[in-house]
Symmetry: C2
Subunit: 542 residues, 2 copies
């Protein structure tokens, strides 16, 4: 017997429509690509998103078509999110930091019919245009006054395009399972593959983000997502902000510590979200200048493990609560969050940091389990570690166009490629990626564990640990580290520091210093690149 409840679809358009009606004058503040700070609000964003839908319709765009974006976090990108998905098309956010060939591959793979481009990326599409024969037009996200001089004949001006419409448009109703957006994975472990979200999955995920054990986004917040909108939909924040009526503060292209800090202070930012690399820059700046955060109460750190020193700095030095979060493009992306439980309130600060260091408990909606190589479920004892499998209504069932083949098992479990432990309270801790783990004489050494300890060593600002071939042990760890400018920390200092917490067999066989570590577009260590570079590295122990 079925319930007698209205069969109303969960649609992305209802998020912006809601924000427009109930939080119409709440601001979206952007550092624009053209230069100045730009202010708009949900009412205007909804209006302009509708104009965009009308304009794309007039260009002949049909439901289901993929519309690409090459853009920073800004209000026009927000309009595109809602306009494109709202009209029943697929908003395909392209990561502009990928190699040009990869971008061309992705655009052609997705069959984007139009691409919306921030001014910054016009040279990029000019260079690529010949490889993108099926793209009917590049819509430059600016007004006529700022349109670039370009030889490209397929350029369209965004403001002129939408300016021709009247905004008298009602968002259409359709199946909530309709595809809404497309995002390719970061390419940390291999070639990016497309994850195709639906209206339903996006709305459900937004609910999750708005709950306290998600990210607790609410209308009292002013949110600055440093995480780019081309990376897993900025962790779903634009949707959740609209659902809850939170103010959004968009950093545009300027991710350096000073720019982010100034925007936070100017716009009363209460909540922020980004990868550790970004927080390193911000904390570095704040420390150097002796500043503090006057409105920020919490920050979400995810995408890579948050090092202890970073959590300590935020919590202890600046009074900013840290929500350590884990997720994947394939998961919309939220999987776990590291909020403390009520029973933790009397723990010491250090014990609380211990808990925050874990990636957190599954949010409601996400099923998690760890299994051994045979697929047998392992105990939730905080010790056993195994392949982490996930399941839920905002988790991918397969990549776009079937890339990678069948990716879920008969019970719908998806293998994350991460290795983790689960403790009795459900706190999950990533010990490593299955591809990054260092297999030393039958034992597994977590590259992440060693990295976390290494960045705690005075004078080290960032460190990567990779497996290097070893004649006796198969693989042994190598630390590749970046020094604080002017610091004289040595190989021995690092190893000495690591001896305090690591077992002897986990200690790296060597430490090399570099000026910079390679990162993915989302700020993660690109260990595939490091492994390539150091594949013939001769360890002193070898």
């Amino acid at each position: 017997m079925l319930g007698l409840v209205q069969d109303r679809p969960l649609l992305i358009s209802s998020l912006i429509e809601y924000a427009s009606l109930y939080h119409g004058d709440v601001e979206i503040v952007s550092r624009s690509v053209e230069g100045p700070i730009h202010r708009t609000n949900y009412r205007e964003v909804n209006q302009r998103a509708k104009k965009l839908a009308q304009a794309l319709g007039r260009l002949g765009v049909q439901p289901g078509e993929r519309i690409g974006t090459l853009a920073w976090n800004g209000y026009r990108h927000v309009e595109i999110y809602f306009g494109v998905s709202g009209m029943g098309c697929v908003c395909h956010t392209i990561n502009p930091r990928l190699f040009p060939e990869q971008i061309a591959y992705i655009v052609n793979h997705a069959e984007d019919s139009y691409i919306l481009v921030d001014l910054t990326f016009v040279p990029l599409v000019e260079a690529l245009a010949d490889h993108l024969p099926n793209v009917k037009g590049f819509i430059v996200m600016t007004d006529e006054a700022h349109m670039p001089d370009s030889k490209l004949d397929r350029l369209i001006c965004y403001e002129t395009l939408i300016g021709a419409e009247d905004g008298d448009y009602a968002w259409p109703d359709f199946d909530e399972n309709t595809a809404s957006s497309l995002c390719y994975t970061s390419g940390t472990t291999g070639n990016p593959k497309g994850v195709l979200y639906s209206n339903r999955s996006t709305v459900l995920h937004s609910f999750c983000v708005c709950t306290n054990d998600g990210l607790g986004v609410c209308n009292q917040d002013s949110i600055l997502p440093v995480v780019p909108m081309f990376h897993a939909n900025a962790w779903g924040i634009p949707y959740a902000a609209a659902m809850s009526g939170a103010k959004m503060v968009m950093p545009g292209a300027a991710m350096d510590g000073q720019s982010i800090y100034e925007l936070m202070e100017a716009e009363g930012v209460t909540l922020s979200a980004g990868v550790p690399t970004v927080w390193l820059m911000l904390l570095g700046y704040v420390k150097e200048k002796g500043l503090k955060f006057s409105t920020m109460t919490r920050t979400v750190i995810g995408g890579s493990a948050a090092p202890r020193s970073m959590i300590e700095a935020f919590v202890n030095d600046y009074g900013v609560n840290v929500v350590h979060a884990w997720g994947m493009t394939e998961m919309s992306p939220l999987g776990t969050t590291g909020n403390l439980l009520k029973k933790h309130q009397d723990l010491s600060e250090a014990e609380k940091i211990d808990i925050r260091l874990k990636q957190g408990r599954a949010v409601y909606g996400v099923d998690l389990k760890i299994v051994d190589d045979e697929g047998t479920e392992l105990p939730r004892d905080g010790k056993a570690f195994g392949r982490l499998l996930v399941r839920g209504p905002w988790i991918t069932s397969g990549y776009f166009k079937g890339e990678g083949g069948q990716v879920i098992d008969e019970d719908m479990w998806f293998d994350t490629g991460d290795v983790a432990t689960l403790d009795p309270d459900g706190y999950m801790q990533i010990t490593d990626r299955s591809k990054d783990v260092i297999k030393s004489g039958g034992e597994w050494i977590s590259s992440i564990d060693v990295e976390n300890e290494a960045v705690g060593c005075p004078g080290i600002v960032e460190a990567a640990v990779i497996a290097v071939p070893h004649p006796k042990w198969d693989e042994r760890p190598l630390v590749i580290a970046v020094k604080e400018p002017g610091h004289s920390v040595t190989r021995e200092d690092v190893i000495h520091h690591l001896e305090k917490t690591l077992a002897k067999w986990q200690l790296p066989d060597d430490v090399v210093f570099v000026d910079e570590l390679p990162h993915t577009a989302t700020g993660k260590l690109l260990k595939t690149k490091l492994r390539d570079e150091y594949q013939n590295y001769k360890l002193p122990t070898a």
Copy 2:
């Protein structure tokens, strides 16, 4: 094109399974019907809910069958919520305060095959049993030691029944639209009609309750729902508490001020929810004894309009934030909540109360509009008032077995039977029920407005305002009021008090004092009864 996302159903069983895994030792504390305070936790509730599902299965209960409950708020009732819906059956919560004939009508209408009964209600079912020939068994929610002496041959002991099972049971997977629970409306304006919720609607509603603009239920909370589990599923709190891992404190049969207060203090209650009548009793007790609330930070008042004096008492005298909420059984029930916006933070306390007095803004998921008698949408200007229509994925599409016929229009709008205004920020204010409005010479007088002002008069504890026939004006308002014990307030005092805020033509033509006002099972003024009683009342002005 559809998204590539896992097709996982939203099931009620996943709520308790989640709570059990991630908040297993969070407590559910109940004032038991047998006497003592009882403590259990989510892990045990999940276990016992599974045993109940096994036991009902063994009794031959099939998916879709309606299983009735006649029970207070307590842990066994929580187990039944999850066990019955989790196995694919329909948990039919029966309001024990209805007239016995109404209960018999409802049970037979729902075709309940088993009814789970708290000890309190055994005499009730004994009296009714002959009229309930199709009920196969009455499962008494107690253990063998407390089983009553009864002539009824269909009695089953709950603890014995579930004690025979091993709990080795996996919640089944099924369509998320499967009916999960059945609740008849309060019967304030007519005969109760059945609202049939689904697993999907319940989970979506729970998400809403867990967002900050819903009720903000989270794992830091200890929640005491005074609103009964037989009234619109205790406003969805048991589900939302499981979703978020909040502690639940269940008052059982004791709703008096002292019992509630003591439980709140003993169990660190942070959040509570109930109808104004209950809060009147609580505030009366707290005031009399000169007490304060040491942990409660917010309380939800709904079901009827919260009077200004009540909101002021909570906010100003006790520092308890008030969330004024409006909803209906037909809406699962949450429709609007009166949370303040960020832009309100600098208002004076009195201005903030003005906003809290409204029923609040629609939660995301609920579409609201007001229309005139022709169905034309009225402006959101805070002045125009009209019939309030609603739409959304947790709103009924029709009553059980088609009672009342077609209740939604072609665009799915459901007429709430309430009359309301909507202001530019989206705050809705109920001016009256369409049936309660006083039609005086072509003008409408809101019975609720007059009531709200009347209870602000010193010496008045409760007041009802109804329409009484009048030869010249068609209808004129009559105040029927209850005095504070020992207070000598007069008819003239009340009218004098009302003159300060009401227009002359809105003033009541008379005031009568009574010892008690009639209420529905959920504590609402039963104006149908008052109208019957006073239909021949001769107004001094007539």
